[in-house]
Symmetry: C2
Subunit: 747 residues, 2 copies
Amino acid sequence: MVSATAIILGAAVLALVWAAIQFLAISKIPVKSNEGGEADETTGLTSEGGDADATTERLLEIYTAIYEGAESFLKAEYTVCFWFVLVFSAIVLILVSWGTGWDWVRGAFTMVSFVLGAGTSIVSGYLGMKVAVYSNVRTTVSAQKSGWTACFNTAFRAGAVMGFALCGLGILMLYLTMLVYRTHYPQPEEWIYLTECLTGYGLGGSSIAMFGRVGGGIYTKAADVGADLVGKVVHGIPEDDPRNPATIADNVGDNVGDVAGMGSDLFGSFAESTCAALVIGSSVGVSDGWDAMVFPIIVSGVGVAVCLVCSFLATDILPVRKEEHVETALKVQLISTTLLMIPAIFLTAFGFLPTQFALKAVVGETELTIAPWMAASCVIMGTVGGLIIGLITEYFTSHSYRPVREVADACKTGPATNMIYGIALGYKSVIIPVVVLALVIYGSFRLCDMYGVALAAIGFLSNLATGLTIDVYGPVCDNAGGIAEMAELDPAVREKTDALDAAGNTTAAIGKGFAIGSAALVSLALFGAFVTRIRHSSDDALFSDGVNMLEPLTFAFLIIGGMIPFAFAAMTMKSVGFAAMMMVMEVQRQFDERPHLLDANPTERPDYDACIKISTEASLKEMLPPGAMVILTPLLTGILFGVNALSGLLVGALIAAVQLAISMSNSGGAWDNAKKYIEKASPDSDLKGKGSDIHKAAVVGDTVGDPFKDTSGPALNIVMKLMAVLSLVFADTFYAINNGGGLFHMA
Amino acid sequence: MVSATAIILGAAVLALVWAAIQFLAISKIPVKSNEGGEADETTGLTSEGGDADATTERLLEIYTAIYEGAESFLKAEYTVCFWFVLVFSAIVLILVSWGTGWDWVRGAFTMVSFVLGAGTSIVSGYLGMKVAVYSNVRTTVSAQKSGWTACFNTAFRAGAVMGFALCGLGILMLYLTMLVYRTHYPQPEEWIYLTECLTGYGLGGSSIAMFGRVGGGIYTKAADVGADLVGKVVHGIPEDDPRNPATIADNVGDNVGDVAGMGSDLFGSFAESTCAALVIGSSVGVSDGWDAMVFPIIVSGVGVAVCLVCSFLATDILPVRKEEHVETALKVQLISTTLLMIPAIFLTAFGFLPTQFALKAVVGETELTIAPWMAASCVIMGTVGGLIIGLITEYFTSHSYRPVREVADACKTGPATNMIYGIALGYKSVIIPVVVLALVIYGSFRLCDMYGVALAAIGFLSNLATGLTIDVYGPVCDNAGGIAEMAELDPAVREKTDALDAAGNTTAAIGKGFAIGSAALVSLALFGAFVTRIRHSSDDALFSDGVNMLEPLTFAFLIIGGMIPFAFAAMTMKSVGFAAMMMVMEVQRQFDERPHLLDANPTERPDYDACIKISTEASLKEMLPPGAMVILTPLLTGILFGVNALSGLLVGALIAAVQLAISMSNSGGAWDNAKKYIEKASPDSDLKGKGSDIHKAAVVGDTVGDPFKDTSGPALNIVMKLMAVLSLVFADTFYAINNGGGLFHMA
């Protein structure tokens, strides 16, 4: 039989090679306005205009502007991250070493993992941005050709580059680190230390994800909201109109927020769920060897292969030939990968897990006996649960179903009823996902204790490569449309990219459902690992009967924990609102000073860079306070008030964050699609269509929804995960302070 | 020394007498348009017009219309409540009797308490509505006089009638019930059963409060939002303009929702906190007698006396002579009662509690020794905590401070940024109240275990009479303004009532802060009592080491519990949105069919009754699903899944409800006051004032805020309390089902 190492490294390399192949396919498309297609009557911008060359030049110009904007933002953002990593790795080194009785090796290994996790996250985000920018313009060009296959495939392949590269890189770095650490910890009894040091990898990934999601989220939405407010409301020009000074910033935002930020987020989830499963399952290694212990990583490796096979369905076996095929193709990806994962997981479990193995329960003295079918079932519960949550999310955010149509109807009586209906929709959409999560938690917890919860989280993310592909596909299409508009191509091109984007919007919402659900499971698993660590460190003095919520300190921190997501959402939303208002003022200033910018065929371009600068500066400044809150709260709680307080904090935050994240993402998605639904309506229908008062009311909802769905909502994932992984990494340190009582001796 | 019974009954009678005196003072004001005041140039409505008689007639006409609308709604609502009480008292009788091994006495006593609690709540609500309607028009008349003292005092006295009558009635009924039950349970050892049967009183109070808050809340906001949308947005007439068909329904709503509903809510809190304290402290009776056991009720009695004394500050010692005095007068009430309560509580504790007494901790085997100062400190923590939360609420909702002004500024860039800022404000406003609550919980829990938490809840509500006075004052002024507008009195009258109302808005927000904070403590105390009951019933087999949140079922239900408040908010918000849209359509129909209704001096009145009917029917229909959810969820969870699941559900709901309730109430209050702030701005200022686009953006926020602050937000209080008290009442029943494992044998 093949060894685990062969499979894991093989899968990682396969993923990277596949990403390279997809990239090659994209790179074959020249950035050149298409002359043979149905859309070659492009309107030139300058007086020489009218010919394809001028358009090509314009395309290149826009491409360069977006590329440079994204590059300069990411550089600035990653500079901040660099300093953060530098300072925080010193903190990790010192606190972990001190917490383990000055075991410098564990401190250093944890620090190295942290740096590697952070580095991989940065590379993933940067790579994603590059690929996306590279592919946007090529998608636009492909959309000039007749038929849907070419442009869909281009955007889909762009997603695949990101999806597979990230998975490959994540698995590769994680596993290589493990192999290196194993040379220092060769004995199975020591692997518990190995896996503990590895948790730094999750912490690094999630820290960068926090900054990426928040910084990128503020950037993209400040630009988007700003462009919307000015363009649509104040001057009646579309958001991607080249005369709108915020338009390049808006398109840059799609790449740095929706691609780079989201990539870092999901990389973080992957890293953390793997670390949680490894820490909890490290005792498996003692009894049954390395290959059994690394079962969670094998699942991820197998997932890559499954996703690769299924991706042929979209690009080759059932290619997209009509507009209606687009959404189906993406949905087929999600469903087919989930279905194919089921037998794959069973085979993996029976192949690599011993026929039975023992695990100690997180609470009490019970020893569980686990068979492969039990572990496989936990993984599958996660995979299937993810799909169900995804499909429910689709029901609540796609305008093919009643909820979004009700929101659209509510626009008839103005923006206020639109808001009320949209918020109510978000709150209501929480019900089924939470029940599904509760079922997955209960089922996996009962079957395999905390190890089961961690496996379920792995299961949620097992088709990550596909999830990421689809997630990246959306912003690429969005940007392709923006470029078409800015380059003043034939409106038919824009219509095509809009149709591609609409499907992407819904599937992006599905992706968010996945991300939030997996984050909840990951956080619970990390919390379980934290409790196990503390129990172990305290020789069963703490938490051996579980975590009592009627401990005064724990209860007090339960409600404080529940407050954190609200405070976080408040900070991030206000940052977006504030930056958007600055953007509006800047744009207005430009129009006031140079009114001819608004001419039908202006001879001068607006100052795009000023808007890019506002977004960049605002997001870098505004990402720090919420980031600091999320990192410092668990750290200070653990240090000052001890582990009982920290337990309450983590669980409270988890409970509130799940609900708020789901509701915010879905409200935002629903508003966006309600607006699109109204735009599609004819002026004679009862929804009156584009430009009507009903449409204006819908735009208000969409604008409010922007920070909901792309800044605060998805960043709440990271809030729960990051707080939990941080607690796990510093578990020994917290216990070392007055036996878990904190500096205030609260235990 | 006086006996506890003398003090309690004395205080209750005093409160009732004082309410009667205040009522007499109001009734001396004749409903007659004032000819001597500065505002006697009233504009007559009909062609005979111009004289005071026509105005008087008009005043009486409006008064009658509002009175009849309110009366008919409450009758309809209480008919639903009657059937609910009938059916549910049978359920209480049977389930409690069965759960206690067919102890029919306990079943019957619990049922009688339930009926009495429900009855008292209905009487309180009805009485409040009567007094408010009676006083509204008299406040309008008083506002015609020169000076501020008369009109302020009239509105304040109306509040006092409700405040003192409700407190008096609540204490009287509760205590008399106890005295009657004592004849059956004369031995101190049996008092535990006595107090348990008494919990039905809290359940009854809270059930009616649920329907009152939700039904009344939907009624008032459907009418308000409907009137706003049509009046301000569609036709440009003010919301209280007599030509607006929804205007009477809007004014009826103030009385049935903001007065009757809120009265029932706070009565419920009072009843539940007292019941929780009595159940937890019942063992005190065994060692130290009846007077020590009823200490919590004595505190409430003393509170009445303190509130009575302080009320002279507002009406006589420092009467309101200028506009600026209004807000100060109300704030002085809150602060003075809190300060005076501190020595009063100490005296009561040292007077009635033994120098030390023992209490068993809710978790573990610890026996706590409690001294009077400790009990007094818990009560005081509650009282002071309530004041701090109130003042923070004021900071976030009054336009004297930065947060609301920022929201007003955000209106400059349209309704979307207004929404983003307002929601962010609400989320942010959660931070300090939650920290204060956590401190109160930790402090009181550490000092006196769960008994301390219950005492803190009592402390929160100790100046309930004053809180209610101020809460009722607001809608009375609001209605007085509406009447002035509808009767077309001099605009100066409206300006005066508006100024009175603005202060009332802020203090109403303070009152909501109180209500939410106390609800959180009450729920925790009730949960503690529930755990104690189960522990006792199971002979320490369950919960003796606390409630472990890492029990799979408990954790699964923690996140389900966290979902309940969101689902509840979704249902109630959507109900308001739906009913408001129906209202808009009805109004539009009237205007379309009879366009001359919009003439400057119409000869015909719109069909007010049609709008009243829509609000009534919508609210009665729409209050049932959320009410059923809140009642059935804990009941079915306990019956099907057992007590571990139920524990998770209660705590999860508590954590999420606190945050959501505070944020929704404060967002709503802030939007309302941001709108008022913009209305006060002059057209030359940067906020542009009434009628501008900035104002229109503010109106959108205000409209969204209506269901936030007056329907969903405050009703979330009741969600947590009702779920907790229901679990406590049926604790024995749940344990009786498979030893707390539920029908599904989950334990």
